[in-house]
Symmetry: C2
Subunit: 507 residues, 2 copies
Amino acid sequence: MFESAEIGHVIDKETYEAEVPALREALLEAQFELRQQQRFPVIILINGIEGAGKGETVKLLNEWMDPRSIEVRTFDQQTDEELARPPAWRYWRMFPAKGRMGIFFGNWYSQMLQGRVHGLFKDPRLDQSINGAERLEKMLCDEGALIFKFWFHLSKKQMKARLKALADDPLHSWRISPLDWQQSATYDKFVKYGERVLRRTSRDYAPWHVIAGVDARYRSLTVGKILLEGLQSALKRPRIHPHKVSAAPLFPSVDQVNLLDSLDLTQQLDKDDYEEQLITEQARFSGLMRDKRMRRHALIAVFEGNDAAGKGGAIRRVAAALDPRQYDIVPIAAPTEEERAQPYLWRFWRHIPARGKFTVFDRSWYGRVLVERIEGFCSKADWMRAYGEINDFEEQIADAGVIVVKFWLAIDKQTQMERFQERKEIPFKRFKITEDDWRNRDKWDDYRAAVGDMVDRTSTEISPWTLVEANDKRWARVKVLRTINQALEEAFEKSDKREKKLQKRKR
Amino acid sequence: MFESAEIGHVIDKETYEAEVPALREALLEAQFELRQQQRFPVIILINGIEGAGKGETVKLLNEWMDPRSIEVRTFDQQTDEELARPPAWRYWRMFPAKGRMGIFFGNWYSQMLQGRVHGLFKDPRLDQSINGAERLEKMLCDEGALIFKFWFHLSKKQMKARLKALADDPLHSWRISPLDWQQSATYDKFVKYGERVLRRTSRDYAPWHVIAGVDARYRSLTVGKILLEGLQSALKRPRIHPHKVSAAPLFPSVDQVNLLDSLDLTQQLDKDDYEEQLITEQARFSGLMRDKRMRRHALIAVFEGNDAAGKGGAIRRVAAALDPRQYDIVPIAAPTEEERAQPYLWRFWRHIPARGKFTVFDRSWYGRVLVERIEGFCSKADWMRAYGEINDFEEQIADAGVIVVKFWLAIDKQTQMERFQERKEIPFKRFKITEDDWRNRDKWDDYRAAVGDMVDRTSTEISPWTLVEANDKRWARVKVLRTINQALEEAFEKSDKREKKLQKRKR
């Protein structure tokens, strides 16, 4: 994999100086066009051997292009805000907006390579990370991002010579960190695992480019030309407008029976039972949130449902059990300008709770496979791939200890009509009913189909959907709280078991 | 100041239950209207004696109103990302957007009171903090924010009784932290300094409301009614549209001589001198940025100037001295939707560099007194008060060790014309010239006047303006770098002196 990079490519000064001006001009043009189109972001990943010219090349790119639309990001020590959240959060918060370029030093690849080289974990975990990186990049590319992955290479001999030369030069010796020397000792491992990573993550949509690092002119020209070509061809890609596809279910069930038909919407609680059970569940919830095991977890509750199904009321009963300092409620409406300039999931990643905290999403990332699918706000390809992306997303946050509980509050068409009428009549509820609600009602069957597909494709063991019979608000509220409590208790029990196993192993 | 709050207000259950439904409904209505108008944010500060019902009241407000547009924020331990930036940064990042409500527990007042009560500093520092709070709130209100400040009060006797009751109740004893007991010991001091703070920061635009905390029904009704009245009257305030005021200088100088006339724009450097001096200054800059004293500082460079004055080129020469991982370049264009929903300075606060880092602003907060003033994008009142707000802002960040260097790159009208022509002709520069540039050129004299006022009003000892003669690009670039270097050296020397003093005192 690195053979070609070790044969010693060299570009002479004349050739270099003859080629650079035109290359630079073309890069500036492309960068300008990128900024004008504001159609996609560019993400450049910088990895490889120390001393192979990573820093120098990035510096050069900043000089060749307009540094005002380039963001260079390093990811070394995690801050405590980052440590309190799933590992990918730190990358998500740093993604460049459409029209801009982000150069990521010390990205997900360096993290997995360091971990494997230093024996923090073995091949299976490495392969998991590789798989995660692949899915992340696939999603970014599907969202339009242009990704360049550069591996700067040196042979072992070249690296040692380079480090020595730097160390001997008083002007540059400060640039060698203890880490660099350490890498000299782990070169073989680093290259071995590097190869594994490159092999598995070089994909048509985001291939690796191995750059021979020994000659500065060669590597600069090579990187510049790869960037230019990639940029130019991406800029020429036709703009894809979301097809206004009809919202047919993926594979409508032959007998027309939908998951939602299986709900017994007549279930209800009388007032006394309700009040007793509500208080019990609220007290239980409040206790669980104060449990010290909660410090290792975070909680997310997602509320979706028919219009007027009582999401707001249920959320209020959940919140009422807690001190308002413990939770955040994030209402999801149309994305803002800054959110539209990022991949779809970005606006949810930014609200991921820190450990110990609780976030309620009033509507959520499922908008893509519900309203966006039905209204044609995105292409069929977009919402079709969203199921997988959402599963990946939920798996990532679950792996970091986030407990995700998802509710679909279901009512029947008659109940909805009664509630719409009621809202129109009661003054302080009138703001709860809008034109959109009536329009959505006309699409009742489309939603029914979309909900069926959503649950089939995204109700997973790590993050199951709970369908809530919500014709009776009391029943719904108690069921919501009880479900959250069960999820917390199960998660705590699992933590306990894991803890005990670890304790045993230590003995 | 607290007398009325100690006489023992009580509301009986009947009165309470009779009044709450209507109050709640009206609050919901007002909140809805707030969200619809999206015209201003509501900031609610919660302070006062422990045990006086702060938490309970906030919980109740969340129950009465729609919690989905309320954000409850606590500010206890600073995170390391917050510690690396000026103290106010943590508040700025949490301000609610227009149309939303933010409840701030543990705000700037609690921080200054804790500090004074525990003897971390004396009255002069307290008064500085008070003054800072006043200016912050004045600015927020001028930007449209509606601020409520509640001081929940208990007499010493009431507080002791309350803490004891809580401790004895097994269901509630967890709610008393060691801090609460500590406050019991420091009650007198807390009230004494509390009074000083309230007295000085109760202003017409953001008065304090002292709430008698002993009776839950009394305090709930009181807070609810104050909120309701404040909200309703703010919602009725007429919308102020920015007046398209003519951009006359504040007090045009009688002889028509402007500060910019005092510049000798013929100054220049020949190529050899330029190259030598540029390399020298870049090396000096690179060394200073690696100086270990830089870890206590951050650096901000602001670039303003005539169109085509060479800001981009100067920024490139500054950046070229550094590793791209050390700096961020923030180009300032029209604010995004999220930025428009916040006070004017918010979009600059979000880019304040962490300690050790460097941020270049390509155009800046001075847009308000330049383009916004001239184009009438804000009212005369807005840009008039901006001078003071900007000075406050720069003082705050300077106090936290941020070194601010500000450049106005000045060229004459003839030079600008030549550069515009050149840009039109050279293909890869064509994107640098837009319709706006020609329009701005027609307003040359307005800008001249605005720059004069800007420098007169915001060139301060802690953050002086440097006017850069930029007809000759070489001269300008060297002057920019040299000025930055001098600013860094001065700041380091000051740090050294302070350090030495501290060392002496310790001996």
